[in-house]
């Protein structure tokens, strides 16, 4: 899931002041931001209070099923068109993908209410960790299922670096060095990989932005499997 963090409130208020917004519609997300406790109903209630305290009226709010889904978000904005029309701006408590989806679905100025930080594993309820950064060229086959691109702060494929001490990471000093973990697991499984060869430099063209996948094929049929990905 996409992990989000609250955005600095002063920055949100400054954004709204830029368009002289006195009335605001607040939109959340029923998936990631709800689980991350940043954009669910509780957080919208909290945002509403803070906006009111700043003298801004909340014309309405909505938590759609998932903010980054274009169709669903269009439907949600239509369902609340009355209170969105009354608002000077829309504040979106979701990841950046959701903010853009909402911005595409309404003609009102739309502002981010959160910061999007990473693709997170849910370690347990309320505890999230970044394990994958979607580089487009997976190396987990050679690294015993532990991603050095993501979990080594320097993203080194061949490590450890000179900052490792007693198996501990130089940068995140309460963490074990990813490269030591990789070596250990490869050894436990009697495997080679990162332990017995130099991993080649990554192909960063595999993560050229913006990414796009189309499974509908050239004529737009659903599920043809002749679609394109880049």
């Amino acid at each position: 899931m996409i992990i989000t963090k609250p955005r600095e409130w002063d920055r949100i208020l400054a954004n709204l002041a830029e368009v002289d917004a006195r009335r605001v519609f607040v939109m959340g997300c029923g998936q990631c931001a709800t689980v991350a406790r940043t954009g669910g109903e509780d957080e919208i209630a909290e945002a509403t209070e803070r906006l009111s305290a700043a003298g801004i009226e909340v014309t309405g709010w909505a938590v759609g099923e998932v903010a980054c889904h274009s169709g669903g978000t269009r439907l949600e904005t239509r369902r609340h068109s009355g209170s969105i029309d009354e608002a000077d701006a829309v504040l979106v408590l979701s990841c950046g993908a959701g903010v853009q989806t909402v911005a595409d679905a309404t003609s009102k100025p739309v502002f981010p209410g959160l910061e999007s930080v990473f693709l997170g594993n849910v370690v347990r309820h309320g505890v999230f960790e970044e394990r994958c950064q979607m580089c487009g060229e997976c190396v987990l086959d050679m690294t015993a299922g532990i991603c050095p691109v993501t979990t080594c702060p320097k993203g080194l494929l061949n490590g450890p670096c000179g900052g490792m001490w007693d198996g501990t990471c130089e940068v995140v000093t309460d963490r074990e060095c990813t490269h030591v973990l990789i070596s250990r697991r490869l050894a436990e499984q009697s495997r080679g990989g990162a332990s017995d060869r130099v991993l080649a430099p990554k192909d960063h063209s595999k993560q050229l932005k913006p990414g796009s996948v189309n499974l509908r094929g050239e004529r737009g049929e659903r599920g043809t499997r002749r679609g394109t990905a880049r």
Partner: protein
């Protein structure tokens, strides 16, 4: 030909030192350092934005060392440049007459003076060694023949005291496979651990230059233990400096003992004087090297 490589190949016990380029354009202090250390050393490392803090580039500063009649070891980290810039700078270095290259990962920007900077790490140090070796054979990293290659004496860093050693050993051997001809090690405090590294790495043909750090004051010991990644001063040595009436004299004595002990097992020493350049001559003389 690199005099450093020549000396290493001849089996001479080499001495390398280290100078830091300035923050700014005034080279006076660095020149003084070079003038003091140059005559005592086979070659001088020129650091590359050390500690992830801003300094004049190692490329230009290495050339200054060369122009002063001494041999530089051009240091290049993987932190600040992508593969295009790294290759481009290696070609530049060779045309500037820099014949020794030390490739390191580089400290993380979050620990430096520009913590907001993006750490590049497009290429890691092992990969960069392989790239440099390819350039020595006349090819860029894509395997294309270039109009003129390089002939660097290739060095890398090794960490004999940072456990787990089995992981370090494998990593060091990968660096040798990638092209490292010599290692300059992190500061050595435990001679036995260095001996273990020498025994296990030497069969690969790589030369081991042992790092010697002048622990000139209790403050330096504290700084290393609290702030420097990948290094700890053992308690008994820290106590020796802390309890000394004259910590600088004690650190010179300690470094001299270390160099003397390492003469038997290392291919050379790399002295990091931490500003007390004047003490280096004393250490080397005390260890019978001058």
């Amino acid at each position: 030909m690199s005099r450093l490589r020549d000396a290493l190949e001849r089996g001479e016990f080499v001495v390398t030192g280290e100078v830091a380029p300035p923050l700014g354009t005034d080279m006076t202090a660095m020149r003084e350092s070079v003038a003091t250390l140059g005559p005592l050393c086979h070659a001088l490392n020129v650091t590359d934005n050390q500690g992830a803090t801003l300094h004049l580039s190692s490329l230009a500063a290495s050339r200054v060392v060369l122009d002063m009649g001494f041999e530089p070891i051009f240091q290049q980290t993987c932190r600040d440049r992508n593969r295009l810039a790294l290759q481009s700078d290696l070609l530049a270095a060779w045309t500037l007459g820099l014949e020794n290259l030390l490739v390191v990962t580089g400290d993380d920007p979050r620990g430096g003076d520009h913590p907001e900077a993006k750490g590049v790490f497009d290429i890691d140090s092992t990969q960069l060694l392989a790239i440099a070796r390819g350039m020595n054979e006349g090819r860029d990293m894509l395997g294309r023949e270039m109009a003129g290659g390089t002939g660097f004496c290739l060095g890398a860093a090794a960490f004999p005291e940072a456990e787990p050693w089995d992981v370090q050993r494998e990593r060091a051997l990968r660096k040798v496979e990638a092209g490292a001809e010599f290692f300059q090690t992190q500061a050595v405090f435990d001679i036995e651990k260095f001996a273990r590294a020498a025994e296990e790495l030497r069969p690969s043909g790589v030369k081991l230059i042992a790092g010697i750090l002048l622990l000139k004051s209790p403050r330096v010991v504290k700084f290393i233990n609290e702030r420097l990644a990948g290094l700890m001063v053992p308690e008994h040595l820290g106590a020796r400096i802390e309890e000394a009436v004259d910590p600088l004299a004690e650190s010179i004595e300690l470094a001299t003992e270390q160099v003397r002990a390492l003469r038997e097992i290392a291919d050379g020493v790399h002295i990091m004087p931490l500003g007390v350049d004047a003490a280096v001559g004393e250490v080397l003389a005390g260890a019978g090297l001058t």
